[in-house]
Symmetry: C2
Subunit: 382 residues, 2 copies
């Protein structure tokens, strides 16, 4: 139950109590955020970025924190999300462990971390928290709301629940509801954590930590964030150079140990992640994505395609852009097509931009050559 | 280390010692098989089926075992693989726990199960064992060699290493080499088993058994054996009916427990599998697929597309059929296209049959409406 708060974070206190959609309420909760650029006198140039499951609010270097951020090439002066023009805000999602209140945070009533006493988290709660940040910053209406992955879900909930909060919207590799393949993957990731005896029903600490479960969850995540196509070209059947590791003699090796480059790549990702994200927060954020269904959120009777379309059509923005990637297996391209079609049916001037990036769901983080012009071009026309 | 041998199995003793390609040799090893139909006087009507990772040799009901088999609708009198015409043989792969010698079998030298003392297993070893079965049954040349999934790899190795062993070949959802996405999935499945403390470096028993690891491995397998497209239609966002389970009150439930139908489906698959396949055998069979590369098997210098094509072109059969499924993410359709192209380049009259089955890699087990005519039509023209 460790929090990982970037230096230079700012915070907005949420209203107390902050009611949670599935029951319960938070007291003394807060949201961490960072900004780039300057809010103009009319307070009309704000762009809000909602992130995927794991990022913090540090999207890019800024005066408070010179370290490169997770979307460094996208956000900043002259960049596709140009902080010379826009007042850019990025928030750490409610439920995270990177500054905003979540299961790893201290519960005021007990002085102990919430752990599993944290109320059930929904995408709609994260959306309401984002709306509170916008209001607290004195912004009447965002020029643009940008949501990536889970943040794309949160953005749709925000637009539905808080009409007029944004004039335009960019939905990147998002979805209007969770579908069973992604639910299955996330269910297995949660099971890996929960099966680790060190998870201990959420009562782990630094000394006894569910490292194996987190490794498994992260590796499975990385497999589904990228694509087979990318890996064929990137790794092929290349073996690790064991001589570098002073393991010269093949016959001494574990036949089930790391042998292929792709196995070493997953291992590296797991090692970098395991101790840098709180396992309970991971469980809550993972489950809230499964629960998300914009049709249900809109009070419509089913999760049929037509009800999802009807929910999307209730959203009012003047312009919208939905971007997706053909190789994404976690938030497949049809889901961004569905978002574009639904927003257009609601009267928004909407573009759909299917990209040929080989990097799958993660492409928006790495394929800046394709995403930069897509996002930057849309913003430049506002 | 339990074996699961179907009643009515027959056995062929392998030559002793039976050398293994990656080093070591087996002594007193055997292969389990079953048959349907009658070998004709010219011994020219034999069809051999090589299976995927987990099936036994009981492909269908026969006089020795009236229970339905894993390919019941495909094999039998009047079926697509018609036992009124063909003498059909199915073998349990070397390295399995279902009758053929593998890590769960007793090592003659010690009287104990091999466990991890079993020599490293390769697809080529399984191919050589299959060749020994063919010879021992007095069959000079198979009318057709059929391989599914891992069995499609084994079939290619068998054709390359034992020229003239078959006049024709059907490769179903197979591959000429393992690619990094499938290696990554299998690596994670093995890691799940090996991380389970009960695995105990292979020294588990019934009382202390790596059940959690096997559950994870199986669930991940099932996710990759089917397709998102199938699950969207089959499960959507349907919830479990907890009232059936006398868990009426939502507020008492574990937020991370089974809630969606797709989660229950995975759980059911895991429960049925966990205690019915030996974990060490699973590890060996899983790893041998990663290692498989027909170009390397042919002694060619690289695993480039052109070397794989060259290896395939060395195979000599008069007719061939490669079948694949567009929704297969584990053995993607391009791999069956590669097999068809390579065999055709070697002079075989080869058909490529891409199917639109929604069921992914497992389609050959369940989509008999599509696979039956494909396989049956090819055999009828021989």
């Amino acid at each position: 139950m460790t929090e990982f708060i970037p230096p230079g974070s700012a915070f907005i206190d949420l209203p107390t109590p902050f009611p949670m959609r599935r029951g319960g309420a938070l007291h003394g909760a807060r949201v961490a955020y960072e900004t780039w650029g300057t809010l103009d006198a009319a307070r009309g140039n704000a762009v809000l970025i909602l992130t995927g499951l794991s990022p913090d609010a540090h999207a890019a270097a800024n005066p408070g924190n010179a370290a490169a951020g997770w979307w460094e090439a996208m956000v900043g002066p002259g960049g596709p999300i140009d902080s010379d023009c826009w007042f850019v805000v990025c928030i750490n999602t409610l439920g995270s462990c990177k500054g905003s209140t979540g299961p790893a945070s201290i519960e005021p009533a007990t002085g102990e971390p919430y752990r599993l006493r944290f109320p059930e988290l929904s995408i709609e709660d994260a959306a309401d928290a984002a709306a509170a940040v916008v209001r607290a910053l004195g912004i009447e209406q965002l020029a643009c709301l940008i949501g990536n992955s889970m943040g794309g879900m949160t953005a749709l909930a925000l637009l539905l629940r808080h009409p007029d909060i944004a004039r335009s919207h960019i939905n990147i590799s998002g979805a209007a509801r969770a579908l069973p393949f992604s639910i299955a993957i996330r269910s297995l990731q949660r099971e890996a954590i929960r099966l680790d005896p060190a998870w201990n029903a959420g009562h782990y600490d630094e000394a006894s930590y569910p490292e194996s479960g987190m490794r498994m969850a992260r590796k499975l995540g990385v497999i589904t964030y990228r694509s087979a196509l990318e890996w064929d070209g990137r790794f092929g059947r290349v073996r690790l150079d064991h001589s570098r590791q002073e393991q010269d003699r093949r016959e001494d090796e574990d036949p089930f140990g790391l042998e292929f480059e792709v196995e070493s790549y997953l291992e590296g990702h797991a090692r970098r992640f395991v101790r840098r994200f709180d396992p309970n927060c991971y469980l809550y954020l993972s489950r809230c994505m499964d629960w998300f269904d914009l049709a249900e959120s809109a009070g419509l009777p089913s999760s049929s395609d037509s009800d999802v379309a009807a929910a999307l059509a209730r959203i009012r923005v003047s312009r919208a852009l939905a971007i997706g990637v053909r190789t994404d297996i976690l938030f497949p391209l049809q889901q961004q097509q569905q978002i574009a079609d639904g927003l257009r049916a609601g009267g928004s001037a909407t573009d759909f931009l299917p990209l040929e990036s080989p990097q799958g769901h993660d492409a928006f983080l790495v394929d800046i050559d394709r995403f930069g012009p897509g996002v930057g071009g849309f913003l430049a026309q506002l």
